[in-house]
């Protein structure tokens, strides 16, 4: 820890917001890739029969699957907004200066949109669990 490159606050990048947002961008990106693969397959069932498609899509109504689905939507939204932040840092002259503040904008937007999506996405689960 006596390294000259490190002040009391540590290095500029390692362990800080910049690094963690990069990790999150990578984890969500890989997750989305695997989901997209599965999602093209499940949608392809419309070529088999309406019954088969509806049956498989019906599994999304299971509360546990529904929660996973909410997590996935959360991953998409983070990846999308943080992706725009990366683009702003790369192309906007003031982007690098405000990269930390931009991350809080990303998190704020994410929270607002997730709240808006929660009810329409989870109505079935809310009904099953709480009778709403």
């Amino acid at each position: 820890m006596a390294s000259g490159a490190q002040g009391a606050k540590g290095t500029l990048y390692r362990g800080r917001e910049g690094m963690w947002s990069w990790v999150a961008q990578r984890v969500t990106g890989v997750l989305l890739f695997f989901f997209l693969f599965a999602h093209v397959l499940d949608t392809a069932l419309v070529r088999v029969s309406p019954h088969t498609y509806n049956q498989v899509i019906g599994t999304y109504k299971n509360p546990v699957v529904n929660l996973l689905e909410v997590g996935l939507v959360g991953a998409v939204m983070f990846h999308a907004f943080n992706g725009l932040r990366i683009i702003a840092v790369d192309f906007w002259s003031k982007g690098p200066k405000y990269q930390r503040q931009l991350l809080w904008v990303v998190v704020g937007l994410w929270a607002v949109l997730m709240l808006g999506f929660l009810e329409p996405m989870m109505q079935h689960t809310f009904h099953e669990w709480f009778g709403w």
Partner: protein, 149 residues
């Protein structure tokens, strides 16, 4: 703290193939061509388009018109009766798959150390990507709302 300094070059790009790109700056100078630059630019351009395509898709599927409960064969049939939504889904499929595949290529380059492992993983990745895009495209164009069952 570790004082180890790694001088290994980044693995993005393809050193074997890149030998063919000779720099105009002089004999013996080797460049990688501009592939990684275009790849970097594509991630950003496709990202901007995907924000509209993907967030629009999620909003229509999960929020409008009574939320997720409406999704089923009849709903898909209604949407794909319109060339606009066919086009939307086609763009979404192609852009997301190319963006995602190119991103996965970066991840593989970063973590797979052995040349052979890297080649195998990328072979699997590209095969899965081509098959997925082909299947999805076929489904969008050959959708039949009056299919039996």
């Amino acid at each position: 703290m570790s004082t180890h300094v790694s001088l290994e070059p980044p693995r993005t790009g393809n050193p074997g193939r890149s030998q063919r790109y000779r720099s105009r700056k002089g004999p013996g100078k080797v460049t990688r061509g501009n592939f990684e630059l275009y790849s970097w630019l594509f991630m950003r351009a496709s990202g901007v388009l995907l924000v509209f395509l993907v967030l629009g898709h999620l909003f229509i599927m999960m929020v409008t018109d009574g939320g997720v409960e409406k999704i089923g064969f009849a709903f898909v049939a209604g949407r794909w009766a319109s060339p606009w939504w066919q086009f939307w889904d086609l763009m979404q499929l192609w852009l997301a798959m190319i963006h995602g595949t190119n991103g996965m290529r970066t991840v593989i380059n970063d973590y797979a150390d052995k040349d052979r492992t890297r080649a195998i993983l990328k072979g699997l990745l590209y095969t899965a990507a081509v098959l997925t895009v082909a299947l999805g495209t076929l489904v969008i164009f050959t959708f039949d709302p009056s299919i039996k069952g």
